[in-house]
Symmetry: none
């Protein structure tokens, strides 16, 4: 059974303690817990680990001196970064296409590392030589460079959502009514009847228009497709209005 423990995040020489914390938080959000930090700037590393809210994940993070060491146990090493300034030597995979590759690697018992470079200049050519694949997050050419914590979040979201298909089927997203099933045609007709009476009582339209209005109203209610419960609610409102219109009409 593929597990998120087979995927690790590697940060190479991160400079900003806030970014280290943000990467760790994104990992926790998406259920990953293997963090390795390569050759961090020592004061910032200490600061990140002692920050309020720095959690277990950061306390348990590995620290290595080299990227080679950090990815030693991994079977698929994926480097991230913008490719604007270099000609890649490895295959480049856009993030939306990554999940099947990772899923296949997990299925055969592999271990995957996602490697992120330093904030300023990203992974060096030498760093990349440990990577089988280059991962590209598709960004706007006018502003291609992402914040480290945000880049980690986006990559892990994608993998968590799409490299680990849930055992059962994904629940069909209900775009429409939350309210207990659709209304039956007959209840729509009942509602249409009361609305029509209300229109008449309010003098909404001349009698000659009645046929056309009835037709339009029927179509309108079907376009709206209210759920059963909402249909009852709207019916209640129009009944009250109608009753009031009639009551006043009778001079009470």
């Amino acid at each position: 059974m593929p597990s998120q423990a087979q995927i690790g995040v590697v940060l190479v020489s991160p400079r900003n303690p806030l970014n280290i914390g943000a990467a760790a938080r994104a990992m926790a959000n998406f259920g990953f817990d293997r963090l390795t930090v390569v050759a961090p700037y020592e004061p910032h590393w200490r600061e990140a680990r002692s920050a309020v809210g720095a959690d277990e994940l950061l306390q348990n993070a590995h620290r290595t001196e080299s990227l080679a060491e950090a990815v030693a146990a991994c079977t698929l090493v994926i480097g991230t970064g913008s490719l604007t300034h270099r000609k890649p030597e490895q295959p480049v995979v856009p993030l939306p296409a990554l999940a099947p590759l990772v899923a296949a690697e997990l299925a055969r018992g592999g271990r995957v590392a996602l490697v992120f470079g330093p904030e300023k200049h990203g992974l060096t050519r030498d760093d990349l030589s440990w990577c089988q694949l280059l991962l590209e997050i598709p960004t706007d050419p006018r502003q291609p460079s992402m914040n480290l914590g945000q880049a980690v979040a986006v990559c892990l979201y994608e993998l968590a959502a799409r490299a680990f298909p849930p055992p059962a089927a994904v629940p069909a997203a209900t775009p429409s009514a939350p309210a207990k099933g659709p209304a039956a045609s007959a209840s729509l007709d009942r509602l249409a009847g009361v609305i029509e009476e209300t229109m008449a009582a309010a003098g909404y339209s001349p009698r000659s228009m009645q046929q056309a209005n009835r037709h339009d109203l029927r179509l309108l209610l079907r376009r709206l497709a209210p759920a059963a419960q909402d249909t009852r609610r709207i019916l209640g409102l129009f009944r009250r209005i109608l009753w009031r219109l009639n009551q006043i009409q009778k001079g009470k």
Copy 2:
């Protein structure tokens, strides 16, 4: 042709200037540029806008006093947040399933708002009553709460990557509704106002229920999601009813 300019990001009362900046950066990374900030804490808003690197996007951001105003022109308003503490009143869509819904809305010429709440407690029940859908980022139950800047990045990545299919693949727009595009949030609010007056004139509910009814009515109209033309038609009907109720009331 669907465009990213049809999608806006709305931040409701963000507290942390760094988060405002991070949200703006993620927007620029993924090619979005319509940012609205609702009732920001003034000093932090000023700080965010004057930060080094705060770009055009932040300078051009809109600022409104209310969420209603921020989403007035939108036809699909999507609230984000964790649902751990409440029972949602709207349909919930997991982020990986969102793109087709947004793509359909863009194809029929709609305008979409993604609404993010304040860092601490997220969107209130009242905020959510302006939303047709709730968006849930699937996170680990042990650490469900995301950093604001990271949440924005993840949502925009998903939409940029999957709601804008290449020109050829765009699905033919809406085989169903005849009625010329969706109603904007502000027209729904206008309709709700007239219905509320009608309810009062018909003695539909006691004054003490007014708040609750207003909330329910707002949600009901968003569930029904009437097209622009239908919204005008329903408005016309209620205006007539209201006029009639008032006229009779005055003893004419």
